[in-house]
Amino acid sequence: MPESRQRFLKLALFGIAGVILLALPQYIPEYHTHLMTTVLFFGYLGTAWNILGGYAGQFSFGHTAFFGIGAFTSSLLQLHAGVNPWIGMVLAGIVGTMVGLFIGSLCFRYGLKGPFFALAMLALAEMLRLVSIQWMTAKYPLGINIPLLEDSLLNFQFRDKVPYYYIILLMTAAALLLADALEKRRIGSYFKAIRENEDAAESLGVNAFKYKLIAMGISAFMTAIGGTFYAQYYLTLDDEAAFGVANSIEILLGPIIGGSGTVFGPILGAGILEFLSETSRNFLGRYSGVHLMVYGAVLIIVIVFLPDGILGGLKKAFYKISGSKQK
């Protein structure tokens, strides 16, 4: 497919999806708007994870570290200093980035790779969780409750769910555009080169350390901002919601199932997971963990039969066909 036509197709798809998604809340019940918000939310977080884990190939098993940091930063600033949540969101992103750059520079400096990097990130998230448990039981045994304010965009608070839907829709669209822009540019190619073969990338002048850190910084920033959104959506926060291992898993499942290292994989994966989770709840009842069981089964199936995820698999099949056609 010539590049210009591909681009047109992508834009058209993006446009149509945009119009439908903008109009959607008018036509569906509030509970479905909530479900759509969840899909977009995990699509957004998955896209953030994907930049580090999917494109740059640094597989983080503890991304909830950044998520929790973001959620806590803006909530605490709001609670104690009356900082507006939008400003808090930016600060959350900055704090998340700083933590990301710190742990990233340690891990990448000392050459932590693959599962070992994954485990180090998991350990980081767990450390934060333990600290927050310790601290929350002492100071906020009932969790942090964000002071209720008047409904307004400025306050980032709404009784109605629909405005949140539009905010996360915008955030997700921005994240997807960013991923798409990265993918087409040198920086995205460098991320992929590092993922595919770090030595070969270095031998061609790619500063792997620097680009891994950049990926970490972008990913941590976006994830932390997602944390603020979460805190404003629920207006309450505790250590498990912020730093639970399950978060880290749910963040990366979307990209893995939809196709890591592809622009639309994470959002596709998030949609599939949410659909499965709702269906399984309807069939098996609302036991906690039922959806995780289904996620686990899907994960096993995907890893065994579609190791590059849905879109990754399609992409490979496409190359196979187009490659053999040329000969």
Binding site: Y190, A201, L204, G205, Q326
Partner: protein, 244 residues
């Protein structure tokens, strides 16, 4: 001033001295061949020169500046790149994307880097394969891709680690022509090769190493008559026999 100067370089792996006090130099524009039996330390030398290993002693100068201890990407940025004996493609990227990674080292724009990658793909004869995933390429194409990625960085000095070995006669001849053309374009080349036909026809000078130590240096004709070299290859005569 030499383009590359290796001074007393030593590299050890535990008790094994892979390279011991090795010194030689390269003039701008020449092709220097490096030969030596399996395990002589040739690839290790490349790894040391390009910053993948830190030498245990000695120093390396490129364009008069010391590059010992620099990172691989820093050395590549200065115009010294290498290929890998065991080819190292980016498997899930297309041939074009592979080569573009090299081009990006000096061209920021996606469009221009792509154009440059196209140009290089044509010179190494991979243009037809540009949209294939590099993981599916046969060995001949993989070697060409290895060369193309390095060339895309627009190097002044390129280190080629057995790019001819493993090719069939036709491919080998093509590769030899390509390398000659590179010299015409002004690129200096350091060549490791077991295929004697390639090394003899391409090299201006040859350095022979054995157990990490230089045992001979000179023009191809002198080298092939050197008794020390013949002795080093004793039991490996097949290398000479096969090549000639």
């Amino acid at each position: 001033m030499f383009l590359l100067e290796i001074k007393d370089v030593t590299k050890k792996f535990g008790g094994l001295t892979a390279i011991g006090n090795l010194s030689f130099h390269l003039e701008k524009g020449e092709i220097l061949g490096i030969i030596g039996p399996n395990g002589a330390g040739k690839t290790t030398l490349f790894n040391v020169v390009t910053g993948f290993y830190r030498p245990d002693g000695g120093a390396i100068f490129f364009k008069g500046q010391e590059i010992t201890g620099l990172k691989p990407h820093q050395i590549a940025k200065r115009g010294l790149v290498r290929t890998f004996q065991i080819t190292q493609p980016f498997p899930n990227l297309t041939v074009l994307e592979n080569v573009r990674i090299g081009a990006y080292s000096r061209i920021k724009s996606n469009r221009e880097a792509t154009a440059e990658a196209f140009r290089i793909l044509k010179t190494v004869g991979l243009y037809e394969q540009r949209n294939e995933l590099s993981s599916v390429l046969p060995i001949g194409h993989r070697k060409s891709l290895e060369l193309a990625k390095a060339l895309a960085t627009n190097p002044e000095l390129i280190l080629l680690d057995e790019v001819v070995a493993g090719l069939n006669t036709m491919e080998a001849n093509q590769m030899i022509t390509t390398i000659k053309n590179l010299q015409q374009e002004g690129i200096t080349i350091l060549l490791i090769e077991h295929v004697m036909k390639a090394i003899m026809s391409l090299s201006d000078r040859i350095v022979v190493i054995h157990y990490g130590v230089k045992i001979a240096e000179g023009a191809p004709q002198e080298i092939s008559k050197n008794p020390k070299v013949i002795e080093a290859y004793l039991g490996e005569e097949y290398v000479f026999a096969k090549g000639q």
